[in-house]
């Protein structure tokens, strides 16, 4: 097996162990704890009246907007990683190249601010 994959094998083992622990925890109360099923107990939590409406309701569009902005900026952060690691070696050219990109990004950020995409109220 190649060395690169071998580096990741312990993570696979760790994942398997974590899964076993999680499911063991979940199984414990099902085996050991008392169970007294009851209609009231198994109803959806609500403050003293039967739940009405679908709980997977329409939600605020702003959450969607935050997700879109997140994709833009998080991709940009992912894009910065290789640049940041090698900047010491590639020098001023790489610095200016990235500044042009960041400049464009900042223009976009200012636009998003101006149109109110960052407002929450």
């Amino acid at each position: 097996m190649s060395g690169l994959l071998l580096d990741y094998l312990p993570i696979l083992i760790f994942t398997a162990i974590a899964l076993v622990i999680s499911f063991a925890f979940l199984a414990m109360p099902l085996i050991m704890a008392p169970a007294a099923p009851d209609d009231e107990k198994h109803s959806t939590y609500e403050c003293g009246f039967p739940a009405f409406d679908d709980s997977r309701m329409k939600f605020d569009i702003r959450f969607y907007l935050v997700a879109i902005l997140f994709i833009v900026f998080d991709l940009e952060v992912a894009f910065l990683f290789p640049w940041a690691v090698s900047l010491g070696e590639v020098g001023p050219y790489a610095f200016w190249a990235m500044m042009v990109f960041l400049g464009e990004l900042i223009i976009g950020y200012i636009y998003a601010w101006k149109v109110g995409a960052l407002e929450w109220d």
């Binding site: 162990i17 974590a18 622990i21 979940l26 109360p29 008392p34 209609d39 952060v77 690691v85």
Partner: protein, 347 residues
């Protein structure tokens, strides 16, 4: 029996690695039990209460008693839930919280998987942790859980950007994504630590450490950013329909992430396992203990913030993330990059 533990053979390597990981998990869970207790004790002390003090001396065994209580409680699964996803969500949270720890070095060479892409791995896996919360909130079929998970997700992804940009500044300084290498670059005394170095750059890096700390609070849904579980409005947010060990998995996952953030601050900004002075009485303390001391100190700050600072309003939270931290961290990336290119590199 010898051949079973011979790391040269594939079988021996597998057995030894598995045992090491199991030992690590046990150490992690036992420390977590005491860290949970410390959290409650500090919170109590700030409010002039005694905190848990009945089980064991000074309440030292409280967390173990709590664990037993979780296990022997009925797992109430409400009628309307989407059962497979409902069960998957806490498992996902805990597994993601656990496997992030596999790249965290606790002392020179003491790391489960010494990846070259360590930092990227931490960022990627901690992003996946969001799925546990959003799936849990959706599957619960309760309005409180649904709203809580939406809020929580929006909050976590907003602060992930500032965390990512702060990580970039550290990477610029160390030129590596491997966490062990980043820590080794800070050896020699506290004046070499990224967060508090004796250099003009510290005017940028110290604020970055503070921003990382605050973003870590938001990322792990800790007070003052615990809006997803704001008791007065959403009861317990995405956890409202969870009980017994189903809830326990969420809680362990959350605290594992909190301690992970403390470890990240110690490793990236405070020199990791290095002693503050590189001579006699300080070097007698083993590296792993130095890291533990630093993690405990940062966790103490986490607890104090929880006890002292009042909860933020949601619009304030989003404004802090998008309008203050994002431009500040972006500016810091540019400043540090300029420093690395023209001053440190040119000299």
């Amino acid at each position: 029996m010898e051949f079973l533990f011979d790391t040269a053979t594939p079988l021996g390597w597998f057995i030894v690695k598995t045992l090491v990981i199991l030992a690590f998990v046990v150490v992690l869970l036992v420390s977590l039990a005491f860290i949970l207790l410390a959290d409650r004790k500090i919170w109590a002390a700030v409010q002039m209460r005694r905190g848990p003090n009945v089980v064991g001396a000074f309440g030292l065994l409280q967390s173990f008693a709590d664990f037993l209580k979780f296990v022997f409680k009925e797992a109430v699964i409400p009628a309307g839930v989407d059962k497979p996803i409902y069960a998957l969500a806490p498992v996902l949270t805990l597994v993601m919280a656990f496997i992030t720890w596999s790249v965290i070095p606790v002392a020179p060479g003491w790391v489960i998987a010494d990846l070259n892409l360590g930092i990227l791995y931490v960022l990627a896996i901690s992003s996946l942790g969001v799925y546990g919360i959003i799936l849990g909130g959706w599957a619960s079929n309760s309005k409180y859980a649904f709203l809580g998970s939406l809020r929580s997700t929006a909050q976590m992804i907003s602060y992930e950007i500032s965390i990512g940009l702060v990580l970039i500044t550290v990477l610029l300084l160390s030129g590596s994504l491997n966490i062990s290498t980043i820590v080794e670059a800070q050896s020699g005394g506290f004046w070499n630590w990224n967060g508090i170095a004796l250099s003009p750059l510290t005017f940028v890096m110290f604020p970055m450490m503070v921003i990382f700390f605050i973003s870590a609070l938001a990322e792990t849904n800790r007070p003052p950013f615990d809006l997803p579980e704001a008791e007065s409005e959403l009861v317990a947010g995405y956890q409202v329909e969870y009980s017994s060990t189903f809830y326990l998995l969420f809680m362990i996952g959350e605290y594992l992430n909190i301690v992970l953030m403390c470890a990240m601050i110690s490793l990236l900004f405070l020199g990791g396992w290095h002693a503050p002075f590189d001579f006699a009485p300080f070097t007698w303390i083993p590296p792993v203990l130095w890291l533990a001391i630093k993690i405990c100190f940062i966790f103490f700050l986490f607890s104090m913030v929880k006890a002292i600072v009042p909860r933020y309003r949601y619009d304030q939270l989003m404004r802090l993330g998008w309008k203050i931290f994002l431009p500040l961290t972006l500016l810091a990336v540019i400043l540090v990059a300029a420093w690395v290119t023209f001053i440190a590199g040119g000299a």
